[in-house]
């Protein structure tokens, strides 16, 4: 790496910190950017600067946006009685891409993890309980990961919401669309059998 100048070395070092990039691919990305300085590198730098300065978590739901409340919280034509709880902003984006939900969101900021030391205090649980208590929420939909940590979090959240007079549901678990039975893992098959329903 010493063959590079200090500025280029710094650029490669920073790019290599991005997920999916190692030092070799970071060098390739740096060269690609340098060849397109006006068309890509400067707009990218400007965009990164603006994003770092202006994008922050929404005080209400935890979504990332330039304003707080965020555009999803501010828009009036969504159903206030449905609140979908997700682990991360990426999950919120996935649900929005699917266009399957027209209610409000709440981003927890992770999942409880016994082994990684993520505790209830580390999640945005107090905000969720506050929203349920004070808002017009009738149903809380737990759209958390189908992992042990995700499901543990779902049950913990359910426990916390018990007695607040709100219906708590979770997303179905089972076979993904387009899946063949013979390649499914045991856990998915068990969940699919448990969640079978009448035709």
């Amino acid at each position: 790496m010493r063959s590079l100048g200090p500025e280029l070395e710094r650029l490669v070092e920073l790019l290599a910190k991005l997920p999916g990039l190692g030092p070799r691919s970071a060098r390739r990305a740096a060269l690609y950017l340098l060849k397109r300085a006006d068309g890509l590198m400067l707009p990218l730098a400007e965009s990164l600067k603006v994003a770092a300065e202006r994008i922050a978590p929404c005080a209400r739901c935890g979504n990332l946006d330039t304003m707080s409340p965020c555009s999803l919280c501010a828009v009036p034509n969504r159903d206030d009685s449905l609140l979908c709880v997700v682990e991360e902003v990426a999950d919120l984006w996935a649900l929005e891409r699917a266009g399957a939900f027209r209610g409000r969101y709440h981003v927890l900021g992770g999942a409880l993890s016994a082994l990684d030391g993520v505790r209830p205090e580390d999640l945005r649980l107090a905000g969720l309980i506050e929203r349920v208590k004070t808002g017009a929420v009738r149903e809380v939909i737990l759209a958390l990961g189908a992992t042990i940590d995700g499901q543990t979090t779902a049950h913990y959240v359910t426990d916390q919401l018990t007695g607040l007079g709100v219906r708590v549901t979770r997303l179905a678990q089972g076979l993904p669309f387009g899946a063949e039975l013979n390649v499914m893992d045991d856990g998915t098959l068990m969940a699919a059998f448990a969640a079978r329903r009448d035709m």
């Binding site: 997920p19 999916g20 409880l112 016994a114 082994l115 990684d116 030391g117 505790r119 209830p120 189908a146 992992t147 042990i148 499901q151 543990t152 779902a154 049950h155 913990y156 359910t158 426990d159 018990t162 678990q173 893992d185 045991d186 856990g187 998915t188 068990m190 969940a191 448990a194």
Partner: protein
């Protein structure tokens, strides 16, 4: 070096974009962590969920190296069974948390392994696992070398009517001998010394309080960790649902 052993998953920590450090509780090699190449892929996610029983093959050039799990095959998806039954997740999290933080690394604990397997097999039996897990904690303490002596009263030597444990010595105390020190002694529920005893309301809570006290004092505090928070959440859940 190479071995194949049965075990169950305690946790998987990210190592690189494609690999994880997989930590297993194995029958013959104790708590064992090694690299699992490809473990970060979506196809392996269901395999390495905590609690899943697996058969793993470990390889390394030398025995004291980190090494890698060359092959990990699912034997039983305890994690998914616990996931289907909500309260079982609390049990699973407490069990894996206690083992991951309390069991010594690469030191076989075959009796703890077998007791853990029993708990995992009943993780979806909500009426059964709380007492089973409480007994497991007693076995865990004993196998770490901190077992309680519940065979006879520390003061009188009698083996009948034992209903307290001394927090200092970890020995049982009979009802009569312990009566003057009732507030300072820990309660000893009957089901911990008599397998046929009926488990009354409050017994499981008393067992968790008893073993929690000694686990904290003798295992977790000296190692710099407190008791795993997942254990506290499990007890909180049992208390809320009236099953302590």
């Amino acid at each position: 070096m190479e071995w194949t052993d049965s075990g169950f998953v305690l946790r998987a920590r990210p190592f690189s974009d494609s690999s994880v450090i997989l930590e297993l509780m194995t029958r013959g090699h104790g708590r064992f962590a090694a690299m699992f190449k490809g473990g970060a892929s979506k196809t392996k996610a269901a395999l390495i969920q905590p609690g899943n029983a697996v058969t793993a093959t470990w390889k390394a050039r030398l025995g004291d190296q980190l090494g890698f799990f060359a092959c990990v095959e699912l034997d039983e998806a305890h994690g998914a069974r616990a996931g289907a039954d909500g309260p079982g997740l609390y049990c699973l999290a407490a069990l894996t948390g206690l083992l991951a933080q309390g069991a010594p690394e690469r030191s076989p604990l075959p009796l703890v392994f077998e007791a853990s397997e029993t708990v995992l097999r009943h993780v979806d039996a909500a009426d059964f696992w709380p007492a089973l897990l409480a007994r497991w904690e007693g076995a865990f303490l004993a196998n770490l070398g901190y077992g309680l002596d519940l065979s006879a009263c520390a003061a009188t030597g009698t083996a009948t009517d034992l209903c307290y444990v001394s927090p200092r010595s970890g020995r049982a105390v009979s009802r009569d001998a312990g009566a003057p020190y009732h507030d300072k002694l820990l309660a000893l529920p009957a089901f911990l010394i008599d397998a046929d005893a009926v488990i009354a309301l409050g017994d499981v809570g008393a067992a968790f309080a008893l073993f929690g006290f000694f686990l904290e004092r003798r295992v977790f505090d000296p190692s710099g960790f407190g008791l795993p928070p997942a254990r506290g959440r499990m007890i909180e859940h049992l208390a809320r649902t009236g099953r302590l």
